[in-house]
Symmetry: C2
């Protein structure tokens, strides 16, 4: 695993300064010495090869050696995620960062029994995932929204939703650009919610023959969309 | 969530008998009374609508009402999984059951630092996943194998592997029938291992632009294969 730290982008030629949290991570957790090579994620979506110049566990300086080209995901995917237990949401989040999801909107569904995780916990999990996977910009987090509000978000992108009643069927998926995927909470969507989505031109997406928990459904559905073929 | 229990398939017309573990689950955990409707997973891959006839938390009897057609996954997928931490393997397992993976072989890779989870833990996690997702037959579990042994398993199925050095590239995936997917351990495959796989006609599979943990890579890769288009 590459070593990656976060800092504000410095003026050209100036060193980047790590704050106490990042300096602690660099010096105590990763035990990096002066001269160590690593990657820096800046606050403008940039990724850099960098070298530790000096400092300590409260403040460290890095030299930026070269910009690393940041790869883009194949498609812009927006996940509309029915709120479920905070711990399950936080477990799912790193996979969504790794896959390259552009935005995640929390949706209060009929069977949602929980609010979103706290901003502090979300931030901690997002940062750890970015550090691990090398993605400089985290997904945008939106909401919580009602289902109707969620269905009206980004209407320029075709909408899909996981719908258990259709799970045995096949569909023929083809996409030009990005897409939206709605995943219900544990317990699934109600029939009324499915009707609301269909009225907003959302289409059921086949995910396999067996019941999937929300986390599996989200990754399988997003993988289908991310790698869908272009129309013939 | 439907209530599901496990029992040996009875003779036609005879009741199914739940053992103490399953009777405890039925009566104490799910608090099912006589007359309750549920589903039964038998020991021959069958799924049934059933009714609780009588008994208690040590031994209960069920009437089998009707066989439920068991849906099949779109493809036969074999996952060759580089051994990593047992807890991470057990976390991943339910998703593999839900997605419909046919078989999982543990592979001792160069960077594997752990053995497979114990048979008892695997069995417990598989059963819970089957109960939850309604899949009557669990995936076959094989190994541990060496990488060379794993690469020689089911040579009739096209082989793919997750290879981080290729992660920015696109590939054009098309499949007639089933497939094999090899996922390395945490830390990834070595170059030698990638060469071994290529020599055995395994092809790198693109999973996205960022580093994925093994669990994400397995689900994303399997979803790509499960829903790959047929050749034009």
């Amino acid at each position: 695993m590459s070593m990656r730290v976060f800092a504000a982008r410095p003026e050209p030629g100036a060193p980047a300064i790590l704050d106490p949290d990042e300096s602690h991570y660099l010096r105590r957790v990763r035990r990096a010495a002066d001269g160590a090579a690593l990657e820096l994620i800046d606050d403008q979506g940039g990724l850099w090869r960098a070298t530790v110049l000096g400092g300590d566990a409260r403040r460290s300086e890095l030299r930026l050696d070269a910009a690393i080209p940041v790869p883009a995901p194949a498609r812009e995917l927006v996940l509309l995620l029915g709120l479920h237990e905070a711990a399950a949401t936080l477990d799912l989040l790193p996979g969504l960062v790794e896959l390259g999801v552009a935005a995640i909107a929390w949706v209060r569904c009929a069977r949602s029994q929980h609010g979103p995780p706290s901003a502090a916990r979300l931030d901690r999990v997002l940062r750890a995932a970015q550090r691990q996977c090398g993605r400089p910009r985290p997904p945008a987090l939106l909401g919580p929204l009602t289902l109707a509000e969620a269905a009206a978000l980004r209407p320029d992108l075709p909408g899909h939703f996981a719908w258990e009643q259709r799970r045995g069927e096949r569909d023929d998926l083809a996409l030009v650009g990005g897409a939206r995927l709605l995943i219900g909470p544990e317990g699934g969507l109600t029939s009324d919610e499915a009707e609301t989505l269909k009225a907003a031109a959302f289409v059921p997406l086949a995910l396999g023959p067996y019941t999937q928990r929300s986390g599996t459904a989200a990754l399988v559905g997003l993988a289908r969309l991310m790698f869908a073929r272009a129309p013939a």
